[in-house]
């Protein structure tokens, strides 16, 4: 069951295409699939987004809870990011406790958001030492046709930028928008047929080697990196995709701003 033979043929096929500088669906090496981004699409969430990249579809939902600040940070609220890939998302996702793959996915997306400092946790304090907001960001994959990382990353920051703190429901003042001061964006590159390509679909994931996830913030600052899967890469290869990531992140940042109306 778990020893797919197809990948061998698939790998060979993708390698042949790569020699001619092609991808199996006709895209250029650094060309992404069409991106659809919709916000405010989940009525019970305080902030939400839906991202579609090709046949990959994900949702992000933001909820708020009241927490007691940690004793050593009495003026700070919290941010929690949870990513679940349930079996609905594809044939290969099994039920059961979180797989290493989904743990990595959640943690990499979480770091990109958290390390950018886009949420100022002091801004979430209600009563110092007593009450603060905890922002909970839940990522949900509906259809996985590859590159869940970038889809989650995009949905995450869009949902946060769409979020309203439900202060009235908790009798803690007036509702107000959650302040999100930066726009971290993740771009992922996967080595397929010997060279890195951007925004792989499922076939390319199955027939590829290592992948690298880059999260860039405003002014091209690096906030998070992650190399996943077996594979060796050179400094020159990395420099090339880092340079590509800079321009692509910038495009996607514009898309976000447009969608959230800013």
């Amino acid at each position: 069951m778990s020893i797919p033979l197809v990948p061998k043929l698939l790998r060979a096929h993708l390698a042949d295409l790569a020699k001619e500088g092609k991808r199996h669906d006709g895209r250029g090496r650094f060309e992404g699939r069409k991106v659809e981004l919709e916000v405010d699409c989940l009525p019970r969430a305080e902030g939400s987004a839906r991202v579609r990249m090709g046949d990959t579809i994900v949702f992000a939902g933001v909820k708020f809870q009241i927490m007691t600040p940690y004793p050593d940070r009495p003026n700070q609220g919290g941010l929690m990011c949870s990513a679940e890939v349930r079996p609905v998302a594809g044939r290969g996702w099994e039920p059961g406790p979180p797989s290493p793959e989904s743990i990595e996915l959640g943690r990499v997306v979480d770091r990109g958001i958290r390390e950018s400092g886009c949420i100022n946790t002091e801004d979430l304090c209600i009563i110092p030492g007593e009450k603060a907001w905890q922002v909970i960001l839940d990522l949900f994959a509906l259809s996985d046709d590859g590159n869940l990382f970038d889809a989650f990353g995009l949905a995450a920051i869009a949902a946060l930028k769409n979020a309203t703190i439900p202060a009235e429901r908790f009798e803690a003042g007036e509702d107000r928008p959650l302040e999100v001061s930066k726009t971290p964006i993740m771009c992922s590159y996967h080595k397929v047929g010997g060279r890195f390509v951007y925004d792989t679909d499922k076939k390319e994931e199955l027939g590829g080697d290592e992948r690298i996830h880059i999260t860039l913030g405003d002014d091209d600052h690096v906030h998070s990196l992650q190399k996943g899967l077996k594979g060796i890469f050179t400094a020159a290869e990395f420099a090339e995709i880092m340079s590509e990531a800079r321009s692509r992140c910038s495009e996607l940042r514009d898309l976000i701003d447009q969608a959230v109306g800013k």
């Binding site: 969430a45 939400s48 909820k63 949870s82 079996p87 609905v88 949900f140 509906l142």
Partner: protein, 238 residues
Amino acid sequence: MGGYGDVQCIDENGIRLDGRKIDEVRPMSIEVGVVPVADGSARMKWGLNDVIAAVYGPMEAHPRKIQRQDRAVLDVRYNMAPFSTTDRIRPGFNRRSREISKVTAEALESVVLTELYPRSKIRVEIEIICAEAGTRCAGITAASVALAHAGIPMTDLVVSVASGKVHDVVVCDLNKEEDNYGEADLPMGILPNTGELVFLQMDGDLSPQQFQEAWDYNMGAAKVIHEVMVEALKGGDE
């Protein structure tokens, strides 16, 4: 009327808070093909409910101990997304989800021609993206559309709907307030072509007469819902 504070769920003209008559179902729509990587899928919006069902299979059943020599097994999971309710739900299966998954599987197994696929497994994934009241009914209904969309042979679709009692009045297709303040809930799974049943639960308090009324409302509603299901499958994306 029940002593549930000031909430008045039905006015003197028999009109409910959301403008419906006593025997009327909430507005609904169904769309198929919403999970492109699945073999079949459907999304049902029903009131504020937003429910997605995806079908994978038939495929090899493993581990082998779940295989049946003479038929396919249905592996059904009902799940509420963390952001589907006012108070966030912690991820992970719980006893309620497991029970609903079980009775949903048994309802669907009653109509799927499982004997055509011995030793195999059909996965049915039901995800509640937004919840109002009646998510289990919406899930069963969406799942039977998704099975049809996946081309799995069935003797009939299953239409599921719940009527109940609010302030001692029996009403059709409870909404959220009616569910919160109500005194009984009777979800049923009905075969529209024969009026037979494959799913039945109930909790609360119903006199024999009230029980019959709720039963009849469900039977009537099933006809309306069935039309929406058939329409969705006609206009499918395939």
